[in-house]
Symmetry: C2
Subunit: 302 residues, 2 copies
Amino acid sequence: MTRIAYFGPRGTFTEQAARSLAEGELVPYDSIGLAIAAVRKGETDAACVPVENSVEGPVTATLDGLAEDEPLVAVAEALLPIHFSVLARPNVDAADVRTVASHPHALAQVQRWLAQNLPSARHVAAASTAAAAIAVRDGEYDAAVVAPVAVEHYPLRTIATEVADIPDARTRFLLLRRPGELPAPTGSDRTSVVAATVNRTGALSELLTELAFRGINLTRLDARPSKGGFGEYRFFIDFEGHVAEPRIGDALAALRRRCHLRFLGSHPRADGVRPSIQPAAGNEDFVSAADWVESVRKGDTA
Amino acid sequence: MTRIAYFGPRGTFTEQAARSLAEGELVPYDSIGLAIAAVRKGETDAACVPVENSVEGPVTATLDGLAEDEPLVAVAEALLPIHFSVLARPNVDAADVRTVASHPHALAQVQRWLAQNLPSARHVAAASTAAAAIAVRDGEYDAAVVAPVAVEHYPLRTIATEVADIPDARTRFLLLRRPGELPAPTGSDRTSVVAATVNRTGALSELLTELAFRGINLTRLDARPSKGGFGEYRFFIDFEGHVAEPRIGDALAALRRRCHLRFLGSHPRADGVRPSIQPAAGNEDFVSAADWVESVRKGDTA
């Protein structure tokens, strides 16, 4: 049976994402780094981790984990709306809630709701949303702000659902595997790489120009310092398309000439957006131009 | 007397940074957003906030706060090594520590040290490093992982100093003011802007090419989704140089033509690094080329 590592404990948004991305036994790990290490070592067949949140930004533990050690590739992604549930012990009414616990990022995303609906509750930081649910179950606090899936794991009463100050806050999750057969292109795909360049004026501009001149649209760019310092950077670049496409293969080869490049996967986009192909930048344009060069080399045409 | 808002409570790394950046009365605020709002409204003369950490990445609350509402400019920066102190109540020895509290980011940055030095302690998440110190003072926990400055505010005993799993972890802080007279150029300066472009293939590549073609080196680039979604992005771009320099003014005018641009300040770099000027990209090159065009227009030369 397929085993999928995920950033646990049970009852988090990452568990929800893992359920939507793969069938099999879900195995919680205590950190993103440990979940990534599990698939790298072959303890599991895959790992599910968050990669970016529309409010908090990139998930640096995931980016750093992908850039270092043995390569892994993303084979699927999920986009989850970050709407929380508020759970309390069965005998506690909303009016009785004096303490409400959650991860600090979650508390930050429901501040307005808490001020309006539980105005007299003290806010307590927990290590994760699920840890907050466990603490409520154990009687430490009155209520917890959690992922909706948490109610399936902990015997708590739902006070509210769909709680979110920013209604369209979303987190994107990746399903990671060791390199092997890639998912087939669907026409709505995303390709991810990490590029390390020397610290030289224009180095990043050149990489992006290689993509732009081929009509390839970026979907994300994150610059992360290498080795914990601010001087040297790694660039995490996502763009439209699949490595199986001629135009994307051509672009990846050009990037590979210019920098240390690691392929982080090609997979279907969760939002289904299809690329708009620029004039002279379609796959058939790349194929016919390469065919023409081949003919010239053979002396068949000029 | 000058009043400086900072992201508090008292005893945080941001207080340490504020002390190093400005003289005056330091006024703690409960969040980065409130500290920024204080200087915007004129409650204080300046605000000190973190902008990026070499381990955790960009501080999204600061970036979003700078991009929205009335403009503010950064007039100074500080680069602090993130080395923690571990404090306990006066009667508690290291061997007696059963619980250690801190902000989750701080706990993440001292995990190895805690495993080696306080192996039997349970880790408890607090809202800030200073909140953890307060909880220790109040008897809730045995020890707290805090900024070195915390020991000046809370009557606790120092168990360890210079604690950091990643010894060169650093955070950069900005001193923000309402627009007005800018700091003078020093020869080692940083200029910051936020650029909003339409979502079009090549839009970011064009902005970076404007800088690269003028020999201007980027020092940071962060892409943040606008309006909480993943579709539209804002780019926070830092580069070498000062708006008073002809080469930087020329580049800013070119960027201004291409996108919605907001100036976020020119100020001395904390690391003292001086730009390496590319051939034909010095200030005197820009001045003499502009003078030549002026002469041509007057009919004085050709």
